[in-house]
Amino acid sequence: MRQISYAQALNEAMAEEMRKDKNVFLMGEDVGVMGGWLGHTIGLYEEFGAERVIDTPIAESGLANIANGMAMAGKRPILEIQFGDFLGLAFDAVGNQGPKFRYMSGGELKVPAVFRSLQGGGFGAAAQHSQCVEAWFMNLPGLKIAVPTTPYDVKGLLKAAVRDDDPVLFLEHKALLGVKGEVPEEEYIVPLGKAKVVKEGKDVTIIALQNLVYHSIEAAKELEEEGISVEIIDPRTLIPLDSQTIFSSVKKTGKVVIAHEAPKRGGVGGEISAFITENCFESLKAPIKRVAALNIPIPFGIPEKYCLPNKDHIVKAVKELV
């Protein structure tokens, strides 16, 4: 099968959905003429024009509320927030407005907006340009959250998100933009709410998000050499969370490591761990470990590595369990 990058897959998803449905369009800072600040929207402006690939002023909160308003009116806007970190400015709009309109209208309104953003570290870009922010939005009913890992998934999930009638926070990881993977030419979607078993195994379950999936694959190789068989699960979406797939793996292995790049305290690892304990307690043979960033702001430059989790942390956590 052809191999394309995460960035290309993302781009294709938007292009295909825009071709298919004239109500779909893209807006955000520098998404148009420039083709995105990391080149990930290149070609869309040329194909769809300034009315459907809209360069906006710098106004995250206003724009996210605008997207809600557009969606309410029947449009399916994809709003790009340039860095995940800036979602803090749009927190109310993304978390507290869009997701509540439907319920507060007694089910009359719907808000099919997608809030895309590039999150994560790996560029040494310091505390306000490097964060993974999914956990900020986990306690807000009405929202859905996707955290795609592979080119295949980013394409399929984004298409699903665009077609979904609810607001979806769609967090891409910027360190993955260049990663290549198999993506079919044919149309497909990846439904929201279905986890992926990245690799089967029997001794320990690793539930990993985004670039920690890649670290986990490396860790698994190393562990396998020592005879430890690891199963890796990528939830792909956090709301809804595919508890079936997670629970059945936990029931098999009885041992769990959860790995994400956001800080450990308050990260989604807590929710996933609690959920497993609540539902699979009898199967657990060891404490659930979390591998995550330290609870400090992300340092600038090279020292970033002292803060963020990597393969070695995963290997260590797994070894502590077996």
């Binding site: 369009f25 009315e51 906006t56 002023p57 106004a59 909160s61 206003g62 724009l63 996210a64 509320n65 605008i66 997207a67 809600n68 308003g69 557009m70 969606a71 309410m72 009116a73 029947g74 449009k75 806007p77 109310d92 709009a93 507290n96 407005q97 309109f101 439907r102 319920y103 507060m104 209208s105 007694g106 089910g107 009359e108 309104l109 719907k110 808000v111 099919p112 009913p141 009405g142 859905k144 979904d164 009638d165 609810d166 439904p191 929201l192 709410g193 709301i239 809804p240 969370l241 508890s243 959920f275």
Partner: protein, 329 residues
């Protein structure tokens, strides 16, 4: 006179519906029938009636928490009462309350957060423009709420993209306990508009015909892609919500209140209608009686509707339009 007899009578009806409706709310609050907080616009009716009377049926309203005059004139009374009483047959199954909305009636929801209405309205207006619809959005906003960043971002973008919207700032001189003088150093909020390259005007919000004429023009311009800001100056007679004793108002403030009450927009309009022989006192009485009757009937009707049950409340189809199952853990 610029407006036909029919139009003038309509405005009278709209003003009186607003006033009588809110007076009824006061009664209902007093007798303990209404849960929650009710923000009355008594004394400010000319602003919203000037606006809604200028709007086409296809134009959209984005209200605030103090928008009964506009909203009650766009909605069906009984379904609106149901909503305020938290009943399942309300516009929003009793889940909307003061945030009531109705797509059919082109009333969009009032967010619980001040200032959010402005970008929401801009988004809606933008969608209308994309669809080449002829509709305009009229976005209500308080003087206090105009300090919010969302309003700035919204106005700038509306002007930049030439969207069909009118920002109607209802300056009632108060934001809860905070007088206008403590909210901003500018004398006229309409001056903000120039900072975005839009037109802005400040008008007497207690004269319904002035508001109407200004909104006629602003809406017509908005329809052609020229958004603008209209600041209508009025006064909040009562406390922030019904039941607020407003003890933060000092003696000078009280004098202002009295002045404002003398300057009642409805009294003024009535006097004009009588003087110009548009309506007789008997006409008016008939209108008023009719309104009161309708309101009372609507309340009786609304009270028959049940509160939402547990099942109707915990309804994931009302949370998610694409319900992917479970409680979306």
């Amino acid at each position: 006179m610029k407006y036909s007899k029919e139009q003038l009578v309509k405005m009278y009806e709209q003003l009186q519906l607003s006033r009588i409706f809110e007076e009824k709310l006061i009664e209902l609050v007093a007798e303990g029938s209404l849960p929650g907080f009710y923000h009355l616009a008594i004394g400010q009716e000319a602003v919203q009636i000037g606006a809604v009377s200028a709007m086409d049926d296809d134009d959209y309203l984005v209200p605030t928490h103090r928008s009964h005059p506009a909203v009650v004139n766009r909605l069906e009374l009984d379904k609106f009462f149901c909503e305020l009483l938290g009943r399942y047959d309300g516009y929003n199954q009793g889940k909307g309350w003061e945030h009531v909305s109705s797509v059919e009636r082109k009333v969009l929801p009032a967010s619980g957060d001040l200032g959010v209405g402005a970008p929401l309205a801009v988004g809606y207006a933008w969608a209308l423009k994309m669809d080449k619809k002829d509709s305009v959005v009229v976005c209500l906003c308080g003087d206090g709420a105009s300090s919010e960043g969302n309003v700035h971002e919204a106005m700038n973008i509306a002007a930049l993209f030439k969207l069909p919207i009118v920002f109607l700032i209802e300056n009632n001189k108060w934001a809860i306990s905070t007088p206008f003088s403590k909210q901003t150093a500018v004398d006229k909020l309409s001056k903000r508009a120039a900072g975005y390259g839009m037109k802005g005007v400040t008008i007497d919000g207690n004269d319904v015909l002035t508001v109407r004429a200004t909104m006629d023009e602003a809406i017509a311009k908005a329809r052609k892609g020229e958004p603008s800001v209209v600041e209508a100056v009025t006064y909040r007679w009562k406390g922030h919500f019904e039941g607020d004793p407003a003890t933060y108002r000092n003696a000078d403030d009280q004098k202002e209140v009295e002045e404002a009450m003398k300057n009642c927009p409805i009294k003024k309009f009535k006097a004009m209608l009588l003087q110009e022989n548009v309506m007789t006192p008997e006409d008016m009485e008939a209108v008023d009686k009719n309104i009161l009757q309708k309101i009372e009937d609507a309340i009786v009707e609304a009270r028959k509707s049940p509160l939402p049950t547990e099942k109707q409340t915990v309804d994931y189809d009302a949370v998610y339009a694409t319900n992917l199952g479970g409680d979306l853990v």
